[in-house]
Symmetry: D2
Subunit: 192 residues, 4 copies
C-alpha cells in the first residue's frame, strides 16, 4: 500500500496547474450558462467518473453519467468529460467524436496527451500513471477489445490519482462558487 501511495503522490505532483485552472474555468462557465456536463469512462475510469459526477450534483451542477439509464442527449456547448488512462478506449473515443459533432466541448483526463482521445479534445488534463499499458500498445488483439486495465499494484495509479485529483477539484469549485458545506446539505442524501 505504501508503494501505491508513493506512486500516486508522484503522479499528482506532476499535474499542470494551468491545465487545472482552465478546467475549473470551463466547469464554472458551463454551470453559469445553464448547460450540462456528461461524464464518460469505461471500467474503473467510469467508476471514478461517476464518483466525480455525484459530487458535481451536490454542487448543483446539471450533470449526468453516460451509460446511466436516464441520461439526456448531449447538446451544443455541453461538456463531455471523458476519463481514459490510455486515451485509446474505443467506445470512449467514439462517443467523444459524436459529441464533438453536435458542438459539445470535450474535456479529457488521460495519461497520454497524444492519444486519440486527447487529440479530439478541446482541453486535456494530463494525469500520469497509465505507464504499463504503453509498453503493450502493439498487442492489437487486446486493444481491439476496447479496455485493458493492467493489474495492481502499480496498474491502477491513474485511477487512484484521478480520483484524488477530482476530489480536490471539488474543494476548489466550492471555493470558486462561494459554496460552504452547509449550503449543500439538501442535495446530499439519497434513498439506497
Amino acid at each position: 500500500m505504501a508503494e501505491i501511495i508513493k506512486a500516486v503522490s508522484a503522479s499528482i505532483e506532476k499535474i499542470d496547474p494551468n491545465q487545472v485552472r482552465k478546467l475549473i474555468d470551463l466547469l464554472v462557465n458551463v454551470k453559469s450558462r445553464g448547460k450540462k456536463i456528461l461524464v464518460l469512462g469505461a471500467g474503473r475510469s467510469g467508476l471514478v467518473g461517476r464518483a466525480f459526477a455525484m459530487r458535481l450534483m451536490h454542487l448543483n451542477f446539471n450533470v449526468h453519467g453516460v451509460g446511466e439509464t436516464i441520461t439526456p442527449a448531449v447538446e451544443k456547448d455541453d461538456i463531455l468529460f471523458a476519463i481514459s488512462g490510455s486515451g485509446t478506449t474505443t467506445l470512449v473515443v467514439t462517443a467523444a467524436k459524436i459529441a464533438k459533432k453536435v458542438g459539445a466541448k470535450i474535456v479529457a483526463l488521460t495519461s497520454y496527451p497524444n492519444s486519440p482521445l486527447a487529440k479530439c479534445s478541446d482541453h486535456v488534463v494530463v494525469v500520469y500513471g497509465r505507464t504499463k499499458l504503453a509498453e503493450r500498445r502493439d498487442y492489437f488483439s487486446r486493444q481491439i477489445l476496447g479496455v485493458h486495465e493492467p493489474l495492481a499494484p502499480l496498474g491502477t495509479i491513474f485511477e487512484v490519482a484521478a480520483a484524488i485529483f477530482l476530489d480536490a477539484l471539488i474543494v476548489e469549485l466550492m471555493s470558486r462558487l462561494g459554496l460552504k458545506e452547509e449550503d449543500l446539505k439538501t442535495r446530499h442524501a439519497t434513498i439506497e
Copy 2:
C-alpha cells in the same frame, strides 16, 4: 405468445380510469411545481420503471431512477413512483417509508391494493397480473429474500401490462401538456 397477449389485454382492461386520471393529475402537478419524480422498482419492475423514466425525461420532467449512480435526494412534495407486482418487495417498501417521512408523495403500481406498499402509498394504480405469487405468500424463506418473480409464460403479465400502460400514459401526458412529438426531438437522442 398469444397466451401472454390475451392475459395482458385482460389485465389492461381492468385498470380503473379514475385511478389513472388521478395519477395524471399528480404527475402534471409535480411538474408544474418544479418538483422531482423518483422511479423505484426491483428486478424486472425496475426495468419497466426505468423505461417509463426515460419517457418522462423526454417530456421534460425532472425524473430520476432510484439506484442509478447520480440520483439526488428525495425531498418534500417529490413523487416516489414505486412499481411492485406483489407490493411486498422488502427494499421497495423500506424506501417508500423513508421517502414518506420526508414528505414525498408515494404513488404505487401494484397488483395488490392491500399490500404493504399500497398501504403506505398516497395513490395506488392497480394493474393485475401478479397472481401466481399470491398462492405462495407463505413461502417465508423466499419472501425474506426480497424479490420473487414467477417464471413465464404467465408470470410476467404484470410487468408487460405495466409497461404498456405506462407507454399509453405518456401519450395522455403529452396531450395534457400540449406537447407534440416535434417539440421533443432535442431530448431524444443520447450517446450510447
Copy 3:
C-alpha cells in the same frame, strides 16, 4: 392501449419460426459448451435485453449484460445478443464488430434485416415494429447521436413485441432443457 396491443400482436405473428428455431439451437448450444452470452442494447432495447438476461440467469445460463460494471470479456464462441430496432445504433454496431473479431457469434434482434447490425450478424431474428424511424433515416444529425427512439403510442411496438417474444422464448428454452419451474427456485431471489 388497445392500439398498442393490436400492433404488438401483428408484429409477433410475423416472426419467422425458422429464425426462432435456429436461435433456440444457438442458445442451447452455447450453454452445453460452457460458453457465455452477452446481451447488448441501448436505451429501451437495453432494458428489454437485461430483462431477458435475468431470465437466462434463472435457467443457469452464463449470461452478462454489456454495460454492467462487472462484465467479463467476450471470447471466441460466446454469443453477443444485440437488440436494436433500427439496427443502426452506432455503439451497438461498433461493439458487435469488435466481438466478431474475437470470434464471438453475433445474434441480432432487429426490425431491419438489411441494417448494419443485421449485416454483421451470424443470425438475425426479425421483429417488426420500428417503422417510424425508417422514414427518418435521412435525419443525419440525429442518427449520429446514436439512439433515436420514436415516441409512443406506436413508437415502442418493437420493444414491447421483443419483450413478449423473449418471455415466450424462455418457456421454449425451459422445455428444451427439460427444466421445470421447481428446479429453478434457488436462483430466483435476489437482495434488492
Copy 4:
C-alpha cells in the same frame, strides 16, 4: 491534494494485519468451495465496491454486485462483502441482515467497529476515515435518508483508503492463489 494523501496514508497504516489475514482466508476459502461473493455499498462506497468486484472477476472469483441488473440470489456460505464508512446506511444494513438469514457470511469494511453493520457481520475490517459523520450521528432527519457523505477535502478519506486497501488486497490474493498477471489476460478486456 497533499492533505488528502496524508490523511489516507494515516488511515491505511492503522489497518489491523490480523483482520486482513482473516479476510484473505475467507475470500480464498469461498473461491475454493465454489461459492459466490456479492459486493454491496451505497453511493461512493458502492463504486469502490464495484471496482473491487471487477478485480476479483479478473482473478476468476464468482463475484457479483448487488444492485446490478443481473445478480443471482445470495445463498448459504456465500460472502456478502458490505462497504459502509458509517456502518449505518439503512439499506446496506437491511440487505446484510437478509443475507445473514439465508446463511451467507457477512464481511464488513467500515470505520465503525460498533456500528449496526459491524454488529451483524461475521468479520470486520476497520478502515478509519469517516470521522466527520460521527459528530453528526444525531441528525436524525439525514440518517433516515440513508446515505450521508461528508464533502471533500477530508470527507472522502474512507473511500480513497478503502480503494487503495482493496487494490493492495488483490496483489495479496494473486500471491496466495499463485496467479501471475500473464494468467489473467483473457478475462481483462471487455466491450465498452
